[in-house]
Symmetry: C2
Subunit: 560 residues, 2 copies
């Protein structure tokens, strides 16, 4: 009897459900729901009203998540003709930190008439960047109070994270903070909507809310120092009952069964995060193999059986990715975005004309031309900091650099140099893990880029000196969520007792992989040494020209 | 009775004659002759034969210079209806070092049947770059033999200069060297063709052939060390009788009168060089005012009444520009070329579309957009080394750098940053002169760029902190040559007794000038400090990454 699980992946612009065969991970049906209100960054979506948002704000409507369930799950059932009773479990993954204030019964504050016009009552999306002053306060206070947990996060908490957003609500809209019985991740909120039970997952708690399995949250004195009213935030509005990834959150309620067309009681997994849930879907449940989710940016995930402070990482969390292991996360903030910027701003009309004539994509044309060049042949070297540096320098104020241009330099040479720069950035991350007792022997890539750019993949293999495998699935987060759904159901219901078992049969890699080419490696070793020297010179304080230029720019704009 | 002089400017692709009113410098008529054989860099122009040239070669046909006289002078006489007897003098200026081997009577070796197929018998154009090994030998030998004259040339002789080319002829085609009774600049050769008298001018001798008024040429022992057959090159094939700029070379021969339609005996000035002859035409005959000839590159000329070693300059020559003064020359090798490269390789189709729609030039569109930005607003900083650095680092192996890019960086911001970088490059030159006892209080610009780009001119004024005046004439070299023609004729014939007197009435500046704007200067002071730090870091040996990349590139290409 074939059994199925459903994974629902909540992205930035849309939600996606994938119905998966539990036996082999085959993806039987997919359905995407583009959110009605998408990313709310200009004004609140209230008809006839003009409530504008400040710069750097990014909100969402929680009802878009409910509509995702209502639209996509019936749709995959219909497409596949799978019977509801054969769907044994559901898992979800979400962007993070995406959080909201709700009442005791889970009602979002923004759904209450009295708070509908108050932006702070809505969901704050991961890329809401208006809480930088609060993040600065969190970091400064932590340094002053010598908080040991700072080390776990590379020495810095981001403005995107949970307490930065909470503190912004408290300081800018104390009435919203007061009215919020619960403050939680949207990931946990949607699981609550499915099961009727409020749970908190170890992944977002660990990576975004300064929680660790051994030490819990920061202590009350620290929160009090941030703001006296924040002293008891954890006990008043959150929870200390943090559930490990892989647990069962509960069963579908009657209400949720009506939304989805599934059976009441269907197992629902503890919530997860898009990048992290992709790891077992990339077949990785053990140490030594780094998963790279490659798209506009790159998330790097690697597992270790021990706790190590690795400088400049986004964080590490016990049970954060795979139960029983420490999950380490690093990141590069500008990869696909980099090439998109280049194509939009720097590619001449003659190249666009050639691509149009040959009916190929401009990226494809550039890749083709760049692939004809050998490593080192461009004479160019770039620092991939067009959007700052996430790992290992953790510095948003760093900027891009291109060196070596001559009057003979062609667009495809710059394009190749930018690809190489992002590969060097990955190499720095790999080397830093390796040097800090988190060994990496192989890379596994998923996401949009590996499908699109073979040249890029080969360069990454050559630069890192490691074989790169590629996932068979192109929707690894949703597949990973379905795998956790099957684990929530358990073996007795036709699923699995652990994510390890699920990964063995449900996760697949492509047969072809990218292997380092020795003669390329030799040249890239020399080039990487030059990259590293510039990386340290401009990135570690010897020459702060990038920050100085930003400061001058800010002053000049301010005078305007 | 109105009197006229004619200036003939021999460029890289064409020759140009301008007929000028001696009283006020008014340009009455102009005629251009595009050389029949232009720049010969692929094969010799011998019908039916395939004699190909090596890379980096660049030759010319001396008969193209004669044809220039034959075409342009009759043409300006015809246009202006000026009578031959009212033309009192001719001056010429040339590219340099552009040189050729000739027989005792002035016949070019390439015009003799036995040498016609031998590339070394033709004119070597200034941009013939195939004599680099010979230049290296000249420099190494000079250092070994501790030759004091090296200091006068910033420590290095260029592959473009006279003895590099002579040594290449000797070593690669000893039969041509042996057959050459005379080796001389094309500038002096065309004056010989007009007057029947061989003369040698102090400008090319000083700037290109290691001659100085006080010390003459390097000694025989040095030439012997380069090659025993070169020991007596000066006495055998050149001359020690070097005539100062401003002298009369002779009068037109009957033959030359037939070519040109002028009267036999018309005064002809000693030859000059295009950049140098522009100085008095830019009204500069005194110390403290630097002339910038701004086009694809920039030549900087300044006068001093004393001899100073200024590091990194192209050279200084007594009587080299204006008799009685030391003429100093510096250069930037990539200015207009820089913007042309940018437009060709880095400007997106959307911008080209906008320019087309608005029927304006793409440079104009970029200038318009860039002019809306304030100093410091781009957040970008560039090193203007796309074609190496001529002054003050004298290093062709340096390459371009762009720093500060973000995902919000727009093409006009990069364009502005490149303009600013060339302005910083000029500032380094101005400061270096100033710090080495050659003061500069004002800049005078001529050439193509000042006419085309007001934004660029304002940035140069802001960055250098000096007022920039612009010449009224757009063909300053030809005007300057005509002025020297009037001086060769002398006051008694209706001309002038000195170039000082000629400059007073014949050279004019525009009424409008570019004055530094104090608030811009303030920002540029900060940015220039950052430029200078990068300039020294990458340019003075602390980080040789640019050279390393070139070396890797060469190795990789070699393996191919």
């Amino acid at each position: 009897m074939t059994k199925y699980a459903i994974g629902v992946d909540f992205g930035t612009e849309s939600g996606r459900a994938v119905l998966v065969d539990v036996a082999d991970g085959r993806e039987v049906a997919t359905s995407v729901y583009p959110y009605l209100h998408g990313v709310i960054d200009e004004k609140l979506p209230i008809p006839g009203e003009e409530i504008h948002l400040e710069p750097d704000w990014a909100l969402q409507d929680p009802q878009d998540y409910v509509r995702t369930f209502q639209h996509t799950i019936p749709n995959v059932l219909k497409q596949s003709k799978v019977k509801p009773e054969d769907v044994i479990g559901i898992g979800i993954d979400f962007t993070a930190c995406t959080m909201l204030p709700v009442k005791q019964d889970g009602t979002p504050l923004c759904d209450l008439a009295e708070f509908r016009r108050q932006p702070h009552a809505w969901v704050k999306l991961w890329k809401h960047h208006a809480a930088q002053p609060e993040a600065d306060k969190i970091n400064a206070t932590a340094r002053k109070m010598d908080q040991a947990w700072l080390d776990r996060y590379g020495g810095k908490i981001s403005s995107e994270w949970f307490f930065s957003k909470v503190l912004q609500i408290l300081e800018e809209a104390p009435e919203v903070y007061a009215a919020a019985d619960r403050l939680l991740e949207a990931a946990d909120w949607v699981v609550w909507q499915l099961t009727g039970v409020e749970t908190r997952n170890s992944c977002t708690a660990g990576y975004k809310a300064i929680w660790s399995k051994r030490e819990g949250f920061p202590d009350k004195a620290y929160f009090k120092a941030l703001n006296p009213r924040l002293e008891n935030v954890v006990d008043e509005k959150m929870s200390r009952d943090i559930r490990p990834i892989g647990d069962r959150a509960g069963g579908l309620t009657e209400q949720a069964a009506l939304w989805t067309g599934l059976k009441p009681g269907t197992a629902v997994a503890i919530a997860n995060v898009d990048a992290h849930v992709a790891v077992p879907a990339a077949s990785v449940t053990e140490t030594g193999r780094m998963v790279m989710i490659m798209g506009t940016s790159i998330c790097h995930m690697v597992l270790s059986d021990a706790e190590h402070v690795v400088p400049g990482m986004c964080g590490y969390v016990e049970d954060g990715i795979i139960p029983g292991l420490f999950g380490y996360e690093a990141g590069q903030s500008c990869v696909g975005d980099h090439f998109a910027w280049f194509v939009e701003n720097c590619v001449p009309a003659s190249y666009e004309g050639e691509a149009r004539k040959r009916e190929i994509d401009i990226h494809q044309l550039l890749e083709e031309k760049a692939a004809k060049l050998k490593p080192g042949e461009t004479g160019l070297l770039a620092l991939d900091w067009w959007n700052g540096n996430r790992s290992v320098l953790v510095d948003v104020d760093l900027t891009g650099l291109l060196l070596g241009a001559t009057l003979a330099t062609r667009p495809e040479e710059i394009y190749r140099a930018l690809i190489e720069a992002t590969a060097y950035g990955t190499r720095v991350i790999v080397d830093t893990f390796q040097q800090n007792s988190v060994p990496i022997r192989e890379l596994v890539a998923c996401g949009g880029l590996p499908e699109k750019n073979k040249l890029l993949m080969q360069i990454y293999a050559d630069v890192t000196g490691r074989e790169i495998k590629v996932t068979a699935s192109t929707q690894t987060p949703a597949l990973g969520s379905a795998m956790f759904g099957a684990v929530a159901a358990g073996k007795s219901a036709g699923g699995y007792d652990s994510i390890y078992d699920a990964a063995k049969t449900m996760a697949h890699l492509k047969a072809e992989s990218y292997k380092p080419i020795p003669e390329n490696q030799k040249v890239y070793e020399k080039l990487f040494a030059e990259y590293l020297r510039l990386h340290d010179y401009f990135g570690r304080g010897e020459n702060n020209v990038m920050k100085t230029l930003k400061k001058i720019k800010a002053e000049v704009k301010h005078v305007a």
